[in-house]
């Protein structure tokens, strides 16, 4: 057959593979609860055909409603990168200047480093009704939400003081990309990670320079800043990988952003680190499966644990790693929750204009969790944790924290030294 014939699809984000079947829209959590979002098919491949012809067809208001959960991509039978088409259009065509609110929410890193210094005052203010009302009015933060509180000691500070000195005794080493959430809001997850890695015979070090992965910047319309930060991260990670240290994270969203969105949306080349950049549960599962590591669990650990599939975790396709590890704990009564978006989507639910949509999206999940009535909900995403804890009676933990808690540390150490 002649060379002039195009034998396979060559369109960006598989645009031309769309059959217009609308299955993506049936699974879109946003379109399910509001008529003002036209759904992924329309906002994605349908709209893109018009936008290619003329940028005037870019509908800022509609496309901003996309959560970037990627459930449309998981559902698409033809492999169209629907979510990517939408996000790429936002980056390319948006003329919107980030507001003070968007800037505050996007800059998790800078805001976090200031807030942790005055954590008690910030935390108290974040919970006060008058302060919430002012934030609601002035910058459009939803007053019914309680912002995640800040830790008074950053994870990095804790690590240098309490963990760093012991790390040199391990010959096997990994780098830890802790992310903003562990550093500023919830150092305990990072501490659990260090405990677990040390128990299986791995030393932990931090990256030379770590910046926020940029997911919140992309979502809040600051992609050029996200690109700058991403380049810093890739540089630090490349150094780590060249020293034989893989880079591990405890956040599905940071991992997804750095592995998939960097090259795709921000045009950052991550080829040198992608294979060595992994979620901790995946890394540990692979060690256990290959017989290189043995885990011993406490006999008195008994909990009913329901696993929630975070959107980006599902898009990564890595749910099997976290759930397989949790199922290894003998005392765990494991329940797999039906996969549904919780509605938080990073900073989305904190915005006043998204309040109704975000709560409506999450409500079937919250109802299901109350029905299952677990001791703990497990999920790999920190922002799902905020939303589920705010909206149900169940406490939420990252699988790494659950493993660290259930682990018989001494027995595990003895087997893996």
């Amino acid at each position: 057959m002649g060379d002039e014939l195009q034998l396979s699809n060559i369109s960006t984000n598989e645009l031309e593979q769309c059959l217009k079947c609308t299955i993506c829209t049936a699974y879109c959590p946003v379109a399910a609860v509001t008529p003002f979002y036209p759904g992924p098919k329309h906002a994605g491949p349908d709209g893109e055909r018009y936008r290619i012809k003329d940028a005037k067809y870019f509908d800022e208001k509609a496309l901003k409603m996309c959560l970037n959960c990627k459930r449309c991509e998981v559902a698409c039978p033809e492999g169209v990168k629907i979510g990517d088409i939408i996000q790429a259009a936002r980056i390319k065509y948006s003329t919107h200047r980030p507001s003070l609110r968007d800037w505050t929410m996007g800059n998790t890193d800078l805001v976090g480093s200031i807030a942790t210094r005055v954590a008690p005052i910030v935390n108290m203010s974040l919970k006060l009704k008058p302060a919430k009302a002012v934030m609601d009015m002035m910058i459009g933060l939803d007053k019914t939400k309680t912002m995640p509180s800040y830790s008074s000691q950053r994870f990095e500070t804790w690590f240098k003081k309490h963990a760093l000195p012991q790390q040199s005794k391990y010959t096997k080493k990994v780098s830890y990309f802790h992310g903003c959430y562990v550093n500023y809001n919830f150092p305990k997850l990072g501490q659990d990670f260090v405990k677990l890695m040390n128990a299986i015979g791995y030393g932990v070090s931090l990256l030379d320079k770590e910046k926020c992965c940029g997911v919140a910047l992309i979502a809040n319309g600051m992609s050029s800043q996200a690109k700058r930060q991403g380049e810093v991260n890739i540089k630090s990670m490349t150094e780590s990988v060249s020293k034989g240290m893989p880079v591990l994270t405890t956040s599905s969203t940071c991992t997804f952003t750095m592995r998939e969105e960097y090259p795709h949306l921000l045009q950052i080349n991550n080829d040198k680190v992608k294979d060595s950049l992994s979620l901790a549960t995946r890394f540990i599962y692979q060690l256990v499966e290959s017989g290189k590591v043995n885990l011993v669990f406490r006999k008195d650990y008994k909990k009913r644990i329901a696993y929630h599939s975070a959107c980006h975790m599902e898009r990564l396709g890595w749910i099997i790693y976290s759930t397989s590890l949790l199922k290894m704990i003998p005392g765990v009564d494991f329940v797999m929750l039906d996969s549904m978006c919780c509605g938080q989507a990073g900073t989305y639910a904190f915005k006043k204009e998204n309040h109704d949509v975000a709560s409506a999206i999450g409500s079937p999940l919250f109802k299901l969790i109350e029905e299952v009535h677990p001791d703990l909900v497990a999920t790999d995403c920190e922002t799902c944790k905020w939303q589920i804890e705010m909206s149900t009676s169940a406490p939420v933990e990252n699988p790494i924290s659950i493993l660290a808690d259930a682990l018989d540390v001494e027995a595990t150490k003895a087997l893996n030294s």
Partner: protein, 417 residues
């Protein structure tokens, strides 16, 4: 990762096979690229609606005995067919899917254009009738939400009238959909079904149907299939609130009842301990001495997925289980042998209404559904469902039947091995 069986494809045939194996205690993984053809489901499973002369079939088993040997059913003897058909009905019941009908004799389903089609099992609540003659004894109220987009009402009315049915057509003004009407593209079956999960919405909807039923002398209310999105049995709830019997008719896709069948089968599979890898694509397999030892997927990049048996349930052209280009028809994962004619001109008939030869193209298998590669049988690779060659599912009305029967039958073949 090691499994007893890995199934490629998470639609009807893959799930039937997976559930049957998991029920027998096997460790099974299903990898599903995107959502399946069940999203185009009519509400009925067809065993064989028409014979090779395109004559309507009354007794499927008798007609199957007359099919050419190339048809997938012909690999099973009569006794095995009956066993498999019975096992499939039990499998549906186990998943909480209630159906009516029997393999002994076809009944009819009502199509969205108001015609009757012979079929095997019909979901509870969907319109069906035992014999065509019974139709004209009915006085039907066809009710649909105002501005509803997914039912060709005029066709349905005209065709029903032509068959002697007394039909009254009413638009529902119900306020429960008013928020959906804010967007002109929103009056779709799946969107309305999501509204009717809410109990208050359901009650209000039932009230309007009662009012209509009371004022009109009808024996049945006919509705588009806009009920049944949630996890509870919403159709039963609606019927319990409405005095006249209600029957539903399939809509344009995505199919609400199909999505529900897909969700229930997947839940059943996971409850039995099966692993469902959602949104992941098997890209290649490792073949040694006529056996597949392992496969790799797009997202579990450095993972070797090993199994004793592999089942290819990846669908036909639409699901990219088989692909046609200008030169050939091929199976993209293992490059299995395909039954097709080499002359491209003979793939299709210029008359679009004629039976299209390409509809019969598919993977070549032996008497136990084992696939061939380069003319040699692969000992542990089975093909099930619409990827099989030898039947034109549009002409014979046997698509879902071939999925269900071959998926379930291959599970038994594997178990007896």
């Amino acid at each position: 990762m090691k499994f007893d069986t890995i199934i490629i494809g998470g639609g009807l045939s893959g799930l039937c096979c997976g559930i049957s194996l998991a029920q027998a205690g096997k460790k099974v993984a299903i990898a599903a690229t995107g959502q399946s053809s069940l999203h185009f489901f009519s509400g009925s499973f067809d065993m064989l609606g028409y014979d090779i002369q395109e004559k309507e079939v009354e007794h499927p088993l008798e007609a199957i005995a007359q099919l050419p040997d190339s048809h997938p059913y012909r690999k099973l003897d009569n006794e095995t067919l009956i066993e498999t058909a019975t096992a499939f009905s039990q499998l549906l019941a186990g998943a909480g899917i209630n159906v009516k009908g029997s393999y002994m004799a076809n009944h009819y389903r009502l199509t969205p254009t108001g015609l009757l089609e012979p079929t095997w099992l019909t979901l509870e609540g969907m319109a069906m009738i035992d014999s065509a003659g019974q139709l004209k004894t009915h006085k039907v109220l066809l009710a649909y939400p105002k501005e509803f987009m997914d039912l060709p009402v005029d066709f349905m009315e005209a065709n029903l009238k032509q068959q002697g049915v007394e039909v009254m057509v009413k638009e529902l003004e119900d306020q429960v959909f008013s928020f959906r009407r804010k967007s002109p593209s929103e009056m779709r079956a799946t969107n309305l079904a999501k509204v009717l999960i809410d109990e208050n919405a359901m009650s209000s909807f039932a009230q309007e149907l009662n009012n209509l039923g009371k004022d009109n002398n009808v024996d049945t209310i006919l509705l588009p299939n806009i009920i049944g999105w949630g996890t509870s049995d919403e159709f039963k709830t609606l019927q319990s609130k409405v005095s006249k019997p209600i029957r539903m008719v399939a809509t344009l896709p995505p199919s609400v009842c199909g999505i529900s069948v897909q969700a229930k089968l997947k839940q059943r599979f996971e409850k039995l301990g099966g692993t469902f890898l959602i949104g992941d694509r098997v890209i290649k397999g490792n073949i040694q001495y006529n056996r597949v030892t392992d496969v790799s997927t797009e997202k579990l990049t450095d993972e070797i997925l090993q199994a004793n048996e592999f089942v290819v349930a990846s669908g036909s052209f639409r699901s990219q289980g088989i692909i046609a280009n200008y030169e050939r028809v091929y199976e993209p994962i293992f490059d299995l042998d395909i039954d097709y004619t080499s002359q491209r001109e003979s793939w299709y008939d210029a008359n679009v209404f004629a039976a299209q030869p390409y509809m019969q193209f598919g993977v070549k298998t032996d008497g136990s559904f084992r696939a061939y590669k380069n003319g040699v049988v692969l000992e542990n690779v089975y093909a099930v469902g619409s990827i099989l060659s030898g039947n034109n599912s549009i002409r014979l009305a046997d698509g879902t039947g071939v999925d269900a029967v071959t998926g379930t039958a291959v599970a038994n073949i594997i178990l007896k091995k």
